[in-house]
């Protein structure tokens, strides 16, 4: 029983129909892949000397990927393999780089091997299955043939009686029930590991993760190899030209210069190649495409003019039409690119500015927080420590030495008041409350009032700017005044702040010695703060020698 079960197991196996479908799919697919590979490679390589071959080869690579994907899902669904698609590789820019990328992609080569196997082994296997099944079917149906009045010959045996025909029926049934399923199972069993090996894209077990690509180095290498390719192309063209001219000289010297025709064609190809490969650095992509377009159009027109000169010079100048048509196309392209480019360049510039000022603002903010932390640590915190110490000691001495305790308490009291003063200064340095409450004019008046120098303040701010602008303006003046007091030996400072339309203009001019360092820490932080608000800040010497700090801040809505 078990032996019989084992014998008919493939017939009862639900996987057998699936495997049959897979084997049969080899008929159309094997042929299709073979045609695809043969045409792709011969066209691609045949035209590779011209530029047309390269895109064909690239398309072939893509087609191989597609074919592998189809075959992978077929094998997974019908044979039960678990092949996975390979990890996506980045598609580089440029024709040659893409070509190199796929040539160096092992998945593409494995896919092609599989496609060839599908043709070389899969197709015969399918044919064999079909043939065996037809043979079995034919034998099983032999009596019907007989009834139909047709005689048949099986293995050199003339079937001319019903008994003879009936004798073959079990043989036919056995073939259908046993031989065909076993053949299918055998093919499937042999095929599955092959499919797995060639179609699975998983990295081998334990392989380290791929490092991220290094785009810059990669790119320059491709550019280098592209130039080498151009050099080879030029050398080959030159060689061909020499050979052609030599042949012409040896055979039909003095006759019509027929090598001009192939030479023109070769020159056209070489020119096109050079256009694509040679690039000026720093040209944006859109502009570069336009250059190639214009160059190719010019080359083609030159070629046609050459043809005209060689064939019907002096006659109707027919290349005029291509010149007009290609010229118009280039002009339209140029219009689009240049229009788009100004817009894009504007945006790129804006992005640059935003990137710079954003990081500047973040730096300035971080520096400010560090300063505050330092001030707290060295100032109020230290004072509170001293205060707590004094109070602690006073408590211990309270009973034994009330006089000393009183002195300590008095000291702690003073310390507490000093801490208050420091904290107030620190808070004002972060953001003066009067600025929020009463605006820039009041805050500047207060600033001028507490400054050691004589400050002449002129303000004209009809409408309050947004809070961030007010704060920036306040700290521009505060820093400029502090610098004037610290470094300039000035006696008077003139501060003028005016809102003109949507701009807030600030000028702080002192009568000191000038020569302020615009790279000083305070001024750099201030400039970053101003620039983050799309404003500008300048520091320079005034006509009378003092320092002038000017700032302009947009208050736009």
């Amino acid at each position: 029983m078990t032996a019989l079960h084992r014998l008919i197991a493939p017939l009862r196996d639900r996987r057998t129909p699936l495997a049959l479908a897979f084997v049969l799919s080899g008929l159309p697919l094997g042929i299709a892949w073979f045609v695809l590979l043969v045409t792709g490679w011969s066209l691609g390589l045949g035209l590779a000397i011209t530029l047309l071959g390269l895109p064909i080869l690239i398309a072939l690579g893509a087609a191989c990927h597609g074919a592998a994907a189809l075959e992978r899902s077929l094998a997974n669904a019908l044979l039960g393999t678990d092949a996975r698609r390979p990890a996506k590789r980045p598609v580089p820019r440029g024709i040659l780089a893409r070509l190199r990328a796929w040539v160096s992609d092992p998945a593409v080569w494995r896919a092609q091997a599989y496609m060839l196997l599908r043709f070389a082994l899969g197709l015969p296997a399918a044919v064999a299955v079909v043939a065996l099944a037809s043979a079995g079917g034919g034998l099983a149906a032999l009596p019907t043939y007989y009834w139909a009045g047709d005689a048949d010959v099986v293995a050199g045996w003339d079937i001319d009686t019903l008994w003879e025909a009936l004798l073959w029926v079990p043989v036919g049934l056995a073939i259908l029930a046993l031989a065909v399923p076993w053949l299918i199972r055998g093919i499937a069993a042999a095929w599955a590991p092959m499919a797995r090996a060639l179609l699975d894209g998983r990295p081998p077990e334990g392989a380290p993760p791929e490092p991220p690509p290094a785009p810059a180095a990669e790119r320059s290498r491709w550019v280098g190899s592209a130039r080498r390719g151009l050099a080879v192309h030029a050398a080959v063209t030159a060689g061909l030209a020499l050979v052609l001219v030599a042949i012409w000289a040896a055979t039909t010297f003095g006759g019509s210069f027929w090598p001009a025709w192939p030479l023109m064609a070769l020159a056209l190809l070489l020119g096109g190649h050079a256009l694509v490969v040679l690039r000026r650095p720093g040209v944006p992509r859109g502009r570069r495409g336009l250059e190639i377009h214009a160059g190719l159009a010019a080359l083609l027109n030159l070629f046609l003019i050459g043809v005209w000169l060689m064939s019907t010079p002096g006659d109707y100048f027919w290349p005029v039409w291509t010149i007009v048509a290609l010229g118009a196309a280039v002009a339209i392209h140029a219009g689009l690119v240049l229009l788009g480019a100004t817009e894009r360049e504007g945006m790129a510039e804006r992005i640059d500015v935003l990137t710079t000022t954003r990081s500047g603002a973040v730096d300035a903010q971080a520096a400010e927080l560090r300063r505050i932390e330092r001030d707290l640590h060295d100032g109020a915190q230290a004072r509170l420590v001293a205060l707590a110490m004094d109070l602690g000691m006073a408590r211990e001495k309270l009973g034994a030495d009330p006089k000393a305790a009183a002195a300590l308490v008095a000291e702690a009291h003073e310390e507490a008041k000093r801490a208050l003063v420091e904290l107030r200064g620190l808070a004002r340095g972060i953001h003066p409350a009067v600025l929020t409450d009463r605006g820039l004019e009041a805050a500047l008046a207060s600033l001028a009032g507490t400054n050691a120098l004589r400050v002449d303040l002129e303000t004209s701010i009809a409408e309050r700017p947004p809070p961030a602008i007010e704060a920036a303006a306040y700290f521009v003046v505060a820093e400029a005044l502090a610098n004037a007091a610290r470094h300039s030996a000035a006696e008077r400072v003139r501060v003028r702040v005016a809102r003109v339309d949507d701009r807030l203009l600030i000028e702080v001019a002192d009568d000191g010695c000038g020569g302020a360092d615009p790279a000083g820490e305070g001024l750099v932080g201030l400039r970053r703060r101003v620039e983050a608000l799309d404003g500008r800040l300048s520091v320079g010497d005034g006509p009378d020698g003092g320092t002038i700090v000017r700032a302009e801040l947009p208050c736009g809505s």
């Binding site: 008041k417 208050l420 003063v421 107030r424 808070a427 003066p432 009463r438 009032g449 004589r454």
Partner: protein, 215 residues
Amino acid sequence: MRVVIAEDLALLRDGIVRLLRDNGFEVVAAVEDGDALVRAVEEHRPDVAVVDVRLPPTFRDEGLRAALEARRRVPGTAVLVVSQYVEQTYALELMADGRGAVGYLLKDRIADPADFVEAVRRVASGGTAMDQEVVLQLVARRGRGGRLDELTAREREVLNLMAEGRSNAAIAGALVVTEGAVEKHISNIFGKLGLAPSDEDHRRVLAVLAYLRAE
């Protein structure tokens, strides 16, 4: 003396209440925001209101505005405004009616209870209490190159103490001179600044503040 207190921070409010009660004041109301202050002043008619500048809901100058509003509704209400920081702008607004009975002090001053209590009493009795930092700001605002430049260093000190609202006796004590010497300095100051002389401390203070306040 009856006091109304407006301070939103419980820690400080309780401290001030305790301090004033310890010194014989009657705290008739301790409120947390400006509207409540105005209502309390209207209801209790206190001798003085002690008000924090920064109060809910805006935490800006709510207290100052409420104090001015209370003074408008109940004329003659003495107001002592306290703040973590002082601004000459606020001082000028407080002094705008020129009637005195106003004070404007840093909260730091509460740390010297005797001085603070003295200032509350002074304001309650119609006098003035300006923080020394405010006075410095006001003097600076008046600018150099004007008549203030004609004052001697000692006269300047006297002027600043006067502007703070201190009495002649207090100024004499602070500078360790006799009251007569202070009188002499004051008459010199008034002469140099072109102010009309006056015998009463309060009036002199107002005259000095009016001079500093003027544009």
